[in-house]
Amino acid sequence: MVPRVELLWWEGCPGWEQALALVRDEMRALGLDADSVQVREVRTDEDAAHAEFVGSPTIRVDGRDVQPPDGEPTGLTCRVYRLRDGRISPLPDRRDVREVLEDAIKESGE
């Protein structure tokens, strides 16, 4: 089965298009269809609560967040990611995205 990749974004934070490009790059590198990413805008607090959206951008692979939130409340806000070198970033670490995609591919083949 092909992993289901979702990107949820909110207009108050720039950078979601960069996040989408990052995800698509990693999908292509693993032989996945980069155009299959489901991109969804989150517009209201109600939408955010319903989607368990803790900030923009949020990237999930088969429902698994590429950097699982640590108890943050849902809402229209910006994600603060921590890169593997310790820097704060509006985007997740590319290697975290790759790992979650690889795990999903492995699990789908089992």
Partner: protein
């Protein structure tokens, strides 16, 4: 993001400010005494862009302290919807970190509206007459500490030398101010 018809632009006089810091002390613009340059920074606690650039702004404050440059950081975000930007959260952050400039709380958002600040961070650099001489981002890349707030430093060096900053304006990059 809220659109503003009358943004504070380069060459214009800076709007007045009167805001409390995290200890309740009032800070004003104009202020008592004169500063050769003043940097007004819209920032916040929750935005990765503001957080990414913060250390560079701290270094600027320390590096230009002997020149008498004054920095003011302002948080205007709606704290009801964004508790990380509440006064208590601001106070905790200042206590946990070593801030060389005051962190002002614009609870009414009147200051942000008057200045037409758009995002965090959004910088304004003022000359001794409190006219805006630079507006925009600290430098070209929030992810690259090596940029060292080059646009801000360049603006300060120009103002201190009595010259016009070049560039005088750049696109502010960050999270939208969270309006009530």
């Amino acid at each position: 993001m809220m659109a503003h018809a009358s943004a504070t632009k380069v060459g214009q006089p800076a709007p007045r400010l009167e805001l409390p810091d995290t200890e309740g002390d009032m800070h004003t613009l104009p202020m008592p005494g004169e500063a050769p340059a003043t940097v007004v920074i819209w920032t916040c606690n929750h935005c990765p862009y503001a957080l990414g650039w913060h250390d560079r702004l701290v270094q600027v404050a320390r590096g230009y302290a002997d020149s008498g440059v004054r920095l003011l950081a302002i948080n205007s975000n709606d704290a009801e919807r964004y508790p990380n930007d509440s006064l208590d959260a601001m106070r905790e952050r200042v206590a946990a970190e070593d801030w060389p400039f005051p962190y002002l709380h614009d609870s009414s958002q009147e200051a942000a509206r008057a200045w037409a600040a758009q995002v965090t961070p959004h910088l304004y650099v003022l000359d001794p007459d409190l006219r805006v001489r630079y507006e925009g981002a600290p430098d070209s890349d929030h992810m690259d500490p090596g940029q060292n707030a080059a646009w801000l430093r360049g603006a300060l060096d120009s103002i201190l030398a009595g010259q016009e900053p070049d560039p005088a304006a750049t696109e502010p990059v960050g999270c939208s101010i969270k309006w009530k």
